[in-house]
């Protein structure tokens, strides 16, 4: 049966503690042969241990499916973008390069792209995805919009991402502050910041740690 429309997947990156429970739980499913379909990316390990979960965002108009020359990626009517079908995938890597979120991974040993399909074998029969089931800090939540509004009185979900001039709508939601929320999460906007200086100074941590002694 199709995944119900009222059940949505919410990512709250500020709650991610980097415990890797989602990664290990995802790995256990034999349908993708011990490879994890979710990963945790460090925002900047030299500055902080903060991680962000990366799952397939199940875009309304999936770029991966659009660029696939073998028509191996399908989006079912419930909005879930399925992983590449083995009989069709030719391992060309178009989808790996095209996805703005960097989700599809090429399994070179199997000549097959694999990506998160929201645990379709579970969600299509009323279960939750494995990652949301094991997440201890509610960084990943699968449920209704009413549930998330009750759990997060100061946050709200949005489904719009901006990559330069391209705007993408997704089935997976990301939590943003409820007060003054952005219209879209501007991903490439952050790339315009000046690159970090190569030499050791100025180090923002040093500025906090080493306070000049008061004179006299």
């Amino acid at each position: 049966m199709p995944v119900p429309a009222h059940l949505e997947f919410f990512i709250d990156p500020s709650r991610c503690i980097g415990c890797q429970a989602c990664v290990q739980a995802c790995r256990e499913c034999d349908s993708h042969k011990g490879q994890t379909m979710i990963q945790l990316d460090y925002v900047d390990r030299s500055l902080s241990t903060q991680t962000v979960p990366v799952v397939c965002m199940h875009c309304d108009v999936p770029t991966c499916a659009e660029v696939c020359p073998a028509d191996a990626i399908k989006r079912t009517e419930d909005g879930i973008v399925q992983t590449a079908r083995k009989p069709r995938c030719i391992a060309c890597n178009n989808c790996v390069l095209a996805c703005p979120f960097g989700v599809p991974k090429m399994q070179t040993s199997m000549n097959l792209m694999m990506k998160c399909d929201l645990c379709y074998d579970r969600t299509s029969v009323g279960l939750m995805p494995m990652c949301a089931t094991v997440c201890p800090s509610q960084a990943l939540h699968y449920g209704t919009r009413e549930e998330i509004e009750r759990l997060r009185p100061r946050s709200m979900p949005i489904d719009t991402f901006q990559f330069g001039s391209q705007v993408i709508h997704t089935r997976v939601r990301m939590m943003v502050p409820r007060n003054d929320p952005p219209a879209a999460i501007d991903v490439t906007g952050a790339f315009d910041l000046a690159p970090a200086p190569q030499d050791m100074a100025p180090d923002p941590l040093l500025a906090n740690l080493y306070v000049e002694e008061p004179a006299g």
Binding site: Q20, Q24, R27, S48, M200, D203, L206
Partner: protein
């Protein structure tokens, strides 16, 4: 690091957990690493009065500049417990939190 637990006898038998963190790493702050010419990933040697350990460095800002940290989940030559002090509470025999003086330098080229 989250993938290893205590002596590692359980967690070092699970492939994906070892893939996440295969060998111990010496965590240190850039202000400590830079004057010693240590870059992230360089092999470094930590020495105490009791022993020495050589492992790759993890140069990050998330540790105090006067502190080194090495996880203890590996055996033999990779066990940092050979370097620390084996003091216990005299009555309960609970081991103390392990902290000791140490010296650090880039590993001599093998």
């Amino acid at each position: 690091m989250v993938s290893q637990f205590l002596s590692g006898t359980q967690t070092r038998r699970i492939g994906p957990l070892l893939d996440h963190y295969p060998v111990p790493r010496v965590e240190m702050h850039p202000t400590l690493a830079q004057p010693l010419g240590i870059a992230d990933g360089d092999r470094v040697t930590v020495e105490t009065r009791r022993g020495a350990l050589t492992a790759p460095a993890l140069v990050v800002g998330t540790i105090r500049p006067d502190t080194l940290f090495v996880p203890y989940h590996w055996p033999g030559a990779q066990s940092v417990n050979r370097l620390t002090i084996a003091a216990q509470d005299p009555i309960s025999k609970i081991p103390e939190y392990k902290a000791c003086a140490a010296r650090i330098h880039r590993a001599a080229e093998a």
